[in-house]
């Protein structure tokens, strides 16, 4: 029984990982790719860790799996925040068809911010 539930969780996790990586290849600019990474891949890895917890089923595996899930959730969202902020600050433009960029509007007056040339 545990093995069946674990296998189902593994399959869901690998599918989400695949969708996230397809998004990494298909989506048009850096910010959209970061979105795909922090949603799909993190969710897939969480499901894989949950599957491992159910599959192994000992107390130490469950505790370490929960710690791992907490770390992956916290660190990946923080890393996504840092990467997107750094990309915007270094002048990576938004993709074609973007609706609005209020961040660039507000950053115009700040010292040290260079408008990108493209």
């Amino acid at each position: 029984m545990n093995e069946t539930i674990g296998l189902i969780l593994f399959v869901i996790g690998v599918l989400f990982d695949l969708f996230g990586c397809v998004g990494l290849v298909r989506l048009p600019d850096v910010y959209n790719r970061i979105q795909a990474s922090t949603k799909c891949v993190v969710l897939g890895t969480t499901f894989l860790l949950l599957g491992t917890m159910v599959w192994v089923g000992t107390a130490s595996a469950i505790i370490k799996g929960l710690l791992c899930i907490a770390f992956v959730l916290i660190t990946s969202s923080t890393a996504a925040h840092a990467l997107s902020r750094a990309a915007h600050r270094s002048g990576v433009p938004l993709a074609e068809g973007s609706v609005i960029d209020q961040y660039a509007d507000d950053l115009q007056g700040e010292p040290g911010y260079e408008e990108n040339e493209s």
Binding site: E3, G6, L7, F10, V11, G13, V14, L15, D17, L18, G20, C21, V22, L24, V25, V30, R33, I34, S37, V41, V42, G44, T45, L48, L49, G51, T52, W55, V56, T58, S60, A61, K64, G65, L67, C68, F71, V72, T75, S76, T78, A79, A80, A82, L83, R85, A86, A87, R89, S90, G91, V92, G112, Y113, E114
Partner: protein, 91 residues
């Protein structure tokens, strides 16, 4: 069990395809920031890989590897983000 012996190679191949897509984006991302995003995702995928290896081999201490890998990948991404800002801004 048949499903287990059949399914684990399939799962492994799926994760290898994920790694291949990340490597594609690392190889010809148009900008540096695209490559950095791909490196970040590769770290997270490897954590999932370690989870599957833990389940196959039944050795729980491998989850420590996953934990440390997540932390080290996070530190590396933060360093890359700092570098990306420092290229254009003198902060």
């Amino acid at each position: 069990m048949l499903t287990m012996e059949f399914l684990f190679p399939v799962l492994t191949v799926g994760l290898l395809v994920c790694c291949a897509m990340c490597l594609y984006r690392i190889a010809n991302g148009p900008l540096g920031s695209d490559r950095m995003v791909a490196i970040d995702i590769l770290g997270t995928v490897v954590v999932g890989f370690v989870a599957i290896i833990t389940a196959v081999s039944g050795k729980v201490y491998l989850l420590d590897v996953a934990l440390v890998w997540a932390l080290v990948s996070f530190a590396g991404t933060l360093a890359l983000a700092k570098y990306l800002v420092g290229k254009r801004l003198n902060e």
